[in-house]
Amino acid sequence: MNVKELRQLFPILDQQVNGKPLVYLDSAATSQKPLPVIEAIDNYYRQYNSNVHRGVHTLGTKATDAYEGARDKVRRFIGAASTEEIIFTRGTTTAINLVAASYGRAHVREGDEIVITYMEHHSNIIPWQQVAKQTGATLKYIPLQPDGTIRLEDVEQTVTPNTKIVAVMHVSNVLGTINPVKEIARIAHKHGAVVVVDGAQSTPHMKVNVQDIDCDFYAFSGHKMCGPTGIGVLYGKKRLLEQMEPVEFGGEMIDFVGLYESTWKELPWKFEGGTPIIAGAIGLGAAIDFLEQVGLDHIAEHEHRLAQYALEQLATIEGLTIYGPKERAGLVTFNIEDVHPHDVATVLDAEGIAVRAGHHCAQPLMKWLNVTATARASFYLYNTEEEIDALVSALKKTKEYFSYVF
């Protein structure tokens, strides 16, 4: 399918914003949803909405099959060995918090270390700050190179035999850096630490194989990969998940409930207390089908081309600073001299162009970059070179506009 055909599957893209055709360059915040996903959710609610795992009735069986079917699609999609290793969560944040609250608190002791990087999203910083505070462990940061990449020798330097957890993002939501997670996992394992990978910005855009990376945990969100909000995934190695205690207790996750003691269901359900996110999982399953049909390699190649084109074109604007390395995922974060990114985003919005402005949930990274905020344009399978041209032309106007009002 070419981009033009693909775009027709995203009805939201065909509209005017502030009198201009919408140019949606904020997919790193959330992606748009194609018709097959919208229809799968609609179809579930219209035709077989039912609770899962308990009804004897026909609709209940249908809903359970679809929910568990989505789990198997996820398993296949990220190359996990078994569906026991796939836990549905509310999103990446909940998934990382689950690992921190369950594995972290049980295995981290005073004097231990948790290692993260300067580029992490708040959702991969704060859960570890909390574990460190509660256990008396130390939180350590792997430094960054000036271009926003990580050197393996710095990983080697930071990770020690006292390190229990290494948590790192696969792809940076600000710099676009693609981190060498496989090599980082190897170094961490050498010291006996487990590796938690935040896959929020990688899973939607490239082929991910958790067994090849050999990470212990991998977290991602459905809404950034054409799926609905409110659904995400925690992958964990079975051996580790088996030892871990649930963090939410109640219906769905129990085996036997006595007056004073209860036992848990087997994996993965012991981590899914309460009625699960059924429509969300079904929507995510449809999103995976869609992405596989388009082809993850095709998507990665398309976005790489867009990112390189954007870097080239943005470099023609004087006074524009780009953050992050040349080889990068499909996003570009920048600032224009003397124009605050909020003002940039407002002017772009007036031109129908949606970008993100702010600290991108990465305040420690903003500090490292020595800025308070930046603007970010992020791309997905439905974006085009023409849209980047529109961005560049609007940014040039922004500069002129602000030099005029000044």
Binding site: N18, H340, P341, H342, D343, T346, V347, D349, A350, E351, A357, G358, H359, Q363, M366, T372, A373, K397, E400, Y401, Y404, V405, F406
Partner: protein
């Protein structure tokens, strides 16, 4: 030159003037009311210092980082509240809040430059930028009221 009249309702000349040449920039010394406030969703930050004597704001200064709207609003606000009583300053804040929400506001008081921020109400995503300094002022003055 102007390419978008919609934007001109937001970025009025007087706003840009306050952004470029902020009034009352700095930190007061001696005894004063000290308020720090952030806008956590976007990273804007203000440090406001107010000197209050006998229920009157005799001096006001601000420091901070943020967009044209948040910084110009802070500049205008410090100008407007100097010499006002606590009650008058809080009344002004209510009027400003009404103005931001696009409500009818008390127009018996001359707002001066602040009037230029009226256009912000047409840009819902930017209202929080404009109100940051005012929220800081309210927080500081509420602590001063008997």
């Amino acid at each position: 030159m102007s390419f978008n009249s919609h934007l001109d309702t937001l970025y009025r000349q007087v706003i840009m003037d306050h952004y470029k040449n902020p009034r009352n920039r700095g930190v007061l010394e001696g005894e004063h009311v000290d308020i720090n406030m952030n806008n956590p969703t976007c990273g804007d930050r203000i440090h406001l210092t107010l000197k209050v004597e006998d229920g009157k704001i005799v001096d006001a200064k601000f420091e901070g980082e943020g967009c044209s709207i948040s910084m110009s609003s802070a500049s205008m606000m410090t100008e407007a509240i100097k010499g006002k009583t606590i009650e008058e300053a809080l009344k002004l804040s209510t009027i400003f809040s009404d103005m931001m929400q696009g409500k009818d506001y008390d127009d018996s008081i001359d707002l001066g430059d602040i009037e230029a921020l009226q256009g912000v109400s047409k840009f819902p995503a930017r209202i929080k930028c404009a109100t940051l300094a005012w929220k800081a002022m309210e927080k500081g003055l509420h602590g001063q009221q008997g």
